[in-house]
């Protein structure tokens, strides 16, 4: 268990810089998830923490001690690889015991630790098998077991679930959450799946293009995204992001036909300024007769029984997604008016920064 501080981390491969000055503090026992699109530098940042990549500049400190120049083997961290990287010629037992042998532990000690981890991960029956003879989920658990037995200062996970099928992924995700509750270690977890991030994290770090876009608890990011990128990235289905123009105090005009929508914000934007109006599908409601709102034509309806999704279009706007509780009688081609509650609206200025509400 340990605390981690990153300050001013940059990383270049040759002339291309892939991490542009990352500052982050991870508290003892915290579960932090790095999330972001493919190629944003999540793995690179994790490997920098692990010591598998050298930093170009900046400092990594574990429990206040600068480890930037220490090799991976001396940082006392454990990593679970996306490919699992199990030693193929060693049994499950030996895979887990290997690092302990490196530490010079006595055989009974090693045995006790391996068996405890195996029990925790339901691997007891497979200890003599080679990785080849295990299922994907079992291999995954061995990889986790290999990290657990060492009792590392920090656990690092690089997309550990991405090789599992959807069902197993959900199950293993829950197990991981349970494991964190049980072990209480500091964990840093990389994924590009925002659902994984939302469900596992104490805090999420959203990365894009080698920069941190926002850091916060899952609900912080959901309720108050700092910028357009985070707004679009967190939440499923995606937040509707509608190009708009300030048309007056507390109103914006959206779409080609300039439908007027009430918003909470105004200052400091002048009428005519370009903004983006964001609203999540689950916050949109259908207007009752006579209520004002935005009119759209339904292109597609998905009925899931407990909930329904309407996909609609209006001139000059991207597709609008609406999530309704329960079942709906609307169908393709219907024209409906939707209400965008002010309390749930997000307004972003031209630079993509979130504007405060009034």
């Amino acid at each position: 268990m340990a605390q981690l501080t990153l300050s001013g981390i940059t990383k270049s491969f040759g002339t291309t810089t892939v991490i542009h000055g990352v500052d982050l503090k991870v508290e003892d026992g915290e579960f932090v998830v790095f999330v972001g699109p493919s190629g944003c530098g999540k793995s690179t940042l994790l490997r920098i923490i692990a010591g598998l990549e050298e930093v170009t500049s900046g400092m990594i400190a574990i429990d206040g001690e600068d480890v930037s120049r220490l090799p991976a083997s001396e940082r006392g961290l454990a990593m679970v690889f996306q490919s699992y990287a199990l030693y193929p010629h060693m049994s499950v037992y030996k895979n887990m015991a290997f690092a302990l042998e490196n530490m010079g532990l006595k055989t009974p000690d090693i045995d006790q630790r391996v068996r405890r981890a195996a029990t925790m991960l339901r691997l007891t029956d497979y200890l003599d098998r080679k990785p080849k003879a295990l299922s994907g989920g079992q291999r995954q658990r061995v990889a986790i077991g290999r990290a657990i037995v060492r009792d590392p200062k920090i656990f690092l996970f690089d997309e550990p679930l991405s090789n599992l099928d959807a069902e197993l992924r959900v199950a293993t995700r829950k197990e991981l959450a349970g494991l964190h509750a049980e072990l209480g270690g500091t964990m840093i977890y990389v994924t590009h799946d925002q659902v994984e991030a939302m469900t596992l994290a104490d805090r999420i770090v959203v990365l894009q293009g080698g920069r941190i876009e926002q850091i916060g608890t899952p609900l912080d990011l959901y309720n108050a995204p700092d910028n357009l990128f985070v707004a679009g990235f967190i939440g499923s289905p995606r937040m509707n992001l509608l190009p708009a123009r300030i048309s007056g105090p507390g109103t914006v005009a959206v779409g080609e036909d300039g439908q007027v929508v009430e918003t909470g914000i105004v200052a400091p934007l002048k009428p005519g300024a370009t903004v983006t109006l964001g609203i999540r599908p689950e916050h949109i409601a259908l207007a009752k007769n006579g209520e004002a709102g935005l009119t759209m034509t339904i292109d597609l309806v998905e009925r899931l029984g407990g909930e329904s999704y309407l996909y609609g279009s209006a001139p000059g706007l991207p597709q609008i997604t609406v999530r309704l509780d329960g079942q709906t009688s609307h169908g393709r081609g219907d024209s409906v008016t939707i209400r965008l509650p002010i309390a749930h609206q997000h307004v972003f200025n031209e630079a993509g920064k979130a504007m405060g509400r009034q």
Binding site: A50, L52, A72, A85, P88, A99, M103
Partner: protein
């Protein structure tokens, strides 16, 4: 209308293609008839037949003729003119007081060849595996000009063994390059081909130099097949370098090592040309190999003793066959 270059090219290709297509049509006709006759599945054997004929003519038939020669005596060339002697040649070959002492054997040259070949092969295989392993590991590291070094180490494999031997002979002989260097440094000239130990040493050395690239390549391929993330995992596990090599690299490279060991064994037992050109088997019989013995017994002694040479060939063949089986078993285990 002018023809564009591409149509011209097409015409040129067409010119080549036409006779080829005609030929195919010509072959196709009888082949179809054959296929109808014997069925599609058996056609495979028809296609295998031509090579099988050549193989029989140049490998299988000589093999049998060799065995026939080994049970006959005399100096005549045609089997029909050779008297049958049964196992006589073998009995002569194996007539030894002690198999460990060539001097106690009636055919001491053969046994000297056996002893030399065994010694040569042993040193050669051990050194070959060590050197090619070290070379492969180094060439697998991220060093500058890696491609260049890989090429350099592989280059001797492309040379004819005779060229290799002649080159080294030129370096090692009495007035050779090495002795020129030694005398220039004020040392005593060394007669490498007069001292039995030196002669054997250089025979092994040259052979390793000539073939190492091939084995290095096999090991390099094996090293590159080991996933890099295993070493990263090992690093995270705080594995000392030597232990990573011992516990990860070696076991995962082992199938390739077995192939290298067995191939080097086979090659060692067969050694002839490069040592023959380099030392001529000398001094005396110090570097006389079994194959050289066979060659000289059959073709270059005053009495051309085909029968005895054939018997020795059969013995050598049995040894090589056993080694080949081991190699097959090893490579099969590698695939599994």
């Amino acid at each position: 209308m002018a023809t564009s270059p591409s149509t011209e090219r097409r015409t040129a290709a067409g010119l080549l293609w036409t006779p080829f297509a005609a030929l195919i049509k010509l072959i196709d006709l009888p082949m179809r008839a054959v296929q109808r006759l014997i069925g599609e599945r058996r056609m495979a054997y028809v296609f295998l037949l031509p090579n099988l004929l050549f193989f029989s003519l140049f490998v299988f038939v000589p093999l049998i003729v060799n065995v026939v020669f080994s049970v006959t005596g005399g100096a005549a060339l045609f089997p029909s003119e050779r008297p049958f002697v049964g196992t006589g040649q073998y009995a002569y070959l194996f007539d030894c007081g002690s198999f460990l002492d060539p001097n106690s054997c009636r055919e001491d040259h053969f046994w000297r060849g056996v002893a030399n070949t065994a010694r040569f092969t042993l040193f050669q295989v051990v050194a070959m595996v060590l050197f090619s392993l070290v070379t492969a590991v180094v060439l697998n590291m991220r060093i500058k000009a890696r491609g260049f070094f890989r090429a350099v180490y592989f280059f001797p494999v492309l040379l004819s063994p005779v060229v290799v031997a002649l080159t080294w002979k030129w370096i090692l002989q009495r007035d050779g390059l090495l002795n020129a260097g030694i005398t220039a440094l004020g040392g005593e000239r060394i007669l490498f081909f007069v001292d039995p130990s030196w002669a054997m040493f250089w025979a092994v050395f040259v052979s390793i130099w000539a073939h190492m690239g091939f084995y290095t390549l096999i090991l390099l391929a094996g090293l590159q097949a080991i996933p890099a993330d295993l070493y990263e995992a090992a690093e995270m596990d705080a594995t000392p370098r030597w232990r990573a090599f011992w516990c990860i690299t070696l076991p995962l490279l082992w199938p390739n090592m077995v192939v290298v060991i067995v191939l080097a064994l086979i090659k060692g037992v067969q050694t002839f040309d490069e040592v023959f050109v380099l030392t001529g088997g000398g001094p005396g019989t110090a570097t006389l190999m079994v194959v050289q013995y066979i060659y000289e017994t059959a073709f270059s002694n005053q009495v051309q003793n085909f029968g005895l040479a054939a018997a020795a060939s059969v013995v050598l063949g049995v040894v090589l066959f056993t080694l080949t089986l081991a190699q097959l078993a090893a490579s099969r285990r590698k695939d599994a």
